[in-house]
Amino acid sequence: MNPMKPDVALARRRFLQSVAANLSLIGIASCTDEPIREVSGPREPPPPEAASYAELLELYFGADGLADADYIGGYYAQIERVSSSEAFDYTSSAREIVDAAKSLEAAVSDLEDQVTADFVAARVVDVAGWTLARTEVELCVLWWLI
């Protein structure tokens, strides 16, 4: 701290320093687009065929990741204000990969490759500030529907 500065300057600099020291707090105060307070399930039942992907998604996300995938998928669907059928349509690319695979394990591997390919091609989706691969968002939405 420079002893020669006037009080006003000192106060301002201290303020800016405190800003720098507390950036995360200040940033959060202005970080989101009308954040959703609570993520709820789909209003209408999903198309019946959605349930056929449950086993694959359990394998992909693992038991520990399912709740978070549900939340992220629900958050995205709600912020985009899509109906269940629109949400299901949104997941078509991921489902095509799964449908084309010879086994669940192969589907998981293909999905992993597609997630990487999405990032390589910058085929990404902003979900509440997170840069996520389009395919993984589709999978989250699909799990939320189920």
Binding site: K5, P6, L16, A20, S30, C31, D33, P35, G62, A133
Partner: protein, 498 residues
Amino acid sequence: MLVDANELSTGATLSADVCIAGAGAAGITMALTLQNAGLDVILLESGGLDDEPNTQALYRGTMSGIDTWELDSHRWRLFGGSTSRWAGWCRPLDASDFAERPYIPDSGWPITLDDLLPYYARAHARVELADFLWDLDEMAAISGRPVIESPCGRLRTSFFQYSPPTRFGTRYRAELESAENVRVVLHSNVRNLPLESGLGRLSRFECATLQGVRFAVEARAFVLAMGGIENARVLLASNDQISEGVANSSGTVGRYFMEHPHYLGVSTWVLSRPTDLAFYDRHSVTLPMGDTTRRVRIQGVLGLEPEVLEDEGLLNFTASLSEAVVGPGETGPIDAEQVRSMVRDREDERIYQLNVRAEQSPRRGSRITLRPDDKDALGMPRVDLDWQVHEDDTRAMRRAMELIGSCLGAAGLGRVWTSTRGDQLSWTTLPGGHHMGTLRMTSDPERGVVDANSRCHDVDNLYISGSAVFTTGGASNPTLTIVALAERLADHLVQELG
């Protein structure tokens, strides 16, 4: 020789081949090079050898735009100038920084990186770095620490080198003091720039001390090297012959003020795989320096490849990394842990913040103006700084961080969150304390103040040295470029006057 202007007689006139106003990085560099070439130099410094509150108060002004550091708190008015406080961050501008980019209005320097490269090498010596070595592969090999590789082809790692930092006033005082053809005149404030009758040449610097001594300096060439705000201030305030001020036929003096907007911690990176990020820590390496070596601290930073910036219409930036603890709610409605648990084959628990230092687009309305009714102790009008950052810039930065996130995702290194609102970056804009662009370098006299040789378009024997001439600011701290430009201008003057 070192003299105090308070010991001069009022009415005295000094003369030299070159008179430089401002003994900071630019002024001292020029004086050293000019004196080595045998030119007679007067180097004027507003302050003394140490901090002086009354002198520092001459910087005071107001701010009507984005809040930045108080104007008297990030530039230092003493022998050595702001190098008495700088942190030593060094990095040349990128080649693309000099180019005209159609998506950035008023971009495009009249010189290229190649024009400046020989002077960057000399600047390295001035700021006590080792040889000019900026090749990433070479530096990474010397460092022995890996850099992040991503299959996306967009991610760029570059690095800063750190000057000790060199305090120019301390480091070069003895050399200047002992030089027979240099007179350093302390406590000298340039108050007015009278022009010769044709208005195309400067006749003298009119100077004053806070103790009331008035004197003048005549020279074959004059250089203003007082900083991005003060240079423009004295040109605008010298308005008794031309109401718009000196060198201001373009109306751009004081305009296009630029900073390096800092968005510290704007992005959070949830790392999902054990990764050696030590290259991105500040660390020391042994670098070649002529026949010997020197230990220099370096630090890796992330950015995007220049072609990507161009294709996407983005501004340049660098992002340093700092490990962070991020709790619930700190990344908005979706927590870092929620995203991490979704990533397959996760193995790492570390979280980093990305600290962005960005270029801003030059905007005519971002400017300093004089406050005629608010004068300093020398009777000079104080300035108002209206620093503006266009919303297109923060939109571009948001996209840039999204691309960084996609690159790290492509590398299998986790996910990135960025504070956004709509298509904008949403974060506190901090200043870097870098004052640039107010006397911009252009080939067209109607669009800027100085030409490619830093000579004022309107005034044949008046030159500007320092970041005021930056046409655009790039994403590198300015001191190394300031010193390189000063070396280049000094060479030009040696040729012109030699």
